[in-house]
Symmetry: C2
Subunit: 147 residues, 2 copies
């Protein structure tokens, strides 16, 4: 059985697009904020909106596994963007708080992020984006429904 080479398949382009966007976004963020990755920025944004999140919940939101999240939070604590304290209602979990240093980062991020999205999506209509999201939703469902 022969198949076309991978470059001809839509997933190849999806992979490339997200990687180029990440590379671009990281470059722009690094110009404005020292020592923060795209994913660390995402974690800060989620924690700001939902301060009660556990590590496991954050992991699910940013599509990482729990082990990775442990190590990412470790690092963010070491770099003083976050502090951990045990949750007294459920001593298996941590309360995770954003430090002042983390808040400073959070102030700088939004304009950069908005600008990045704007640049990456230039010349693309709302309609096209919705169309893409519709297809991506189908792919997600296809890949996650059992069997």
């Amino acid at each position: 059985m022969s198949i076309e080479i991978p470059t001809q398949v839509v997933f190849y382009k999806v992979e490339r697009a997200i990687k180029e966007y990440r590379k671009y976004a990281q470059k722009k963020i690094s110009e404005k904020v020292q020592d923060i990755t795209v994913d660390q920025g995402l974690i800060l944004l989620f924690l700001k909106h939902y301060p009660e999140l556990s590590q496991k919940e954050i992991a699910a939101l940013v599509f990482k596994d729990n082990a990775s999240m442990t190590r990412m939070i470790d690092l963010m604590v070491k770099k003083e963007y976050l502090v951990r304290s045990t949750n007294e209602e459920d001593r298996r979990r941590y309360n995770i708080e954003i430090t002042d240093k983390g808040k400073t980062v959070l102030e700088k991020l939004p304009p950069v992020i908005l600008e990045n999205r704007k640049k990456a999506l230039a010349g693309i209509s709302i309609d096209e984006i919705e169309q893409v999201e519709k297809v991506l939703d189908k792919i997600i469902i296809n890949c996650t429904t059992n069997q």
Copy 2:
């Protein structure tokens, strides 16, 4: 400046879709072929179609950097899917050959890959896919053209 939470942005969905597809594809591949990752399979497919590829060229095709490629090929040599030999026309490069064990894998992969794509793209029209590719192309260009 306030921004919407990341889940509301198309890139979030792109990220999720490609991750779910990778997870699904890896699961299906692992059922049929022992000890091969999606990326290692991709490398085999590219080498089959273009046997002259250098490590650097393969890296570009699968969106990895040279250092990662060195280590991935190291591993694939150790697992006996590939053999390296120096290229006598350009002694900085390697000739990379697929071993018999690698060829056996290559025989098993295509049906699984075709089935995976079929499942992941079920209920999505050619037209929709082309639409998505068009938008992704714009994003890629937006993120890679300077400034």
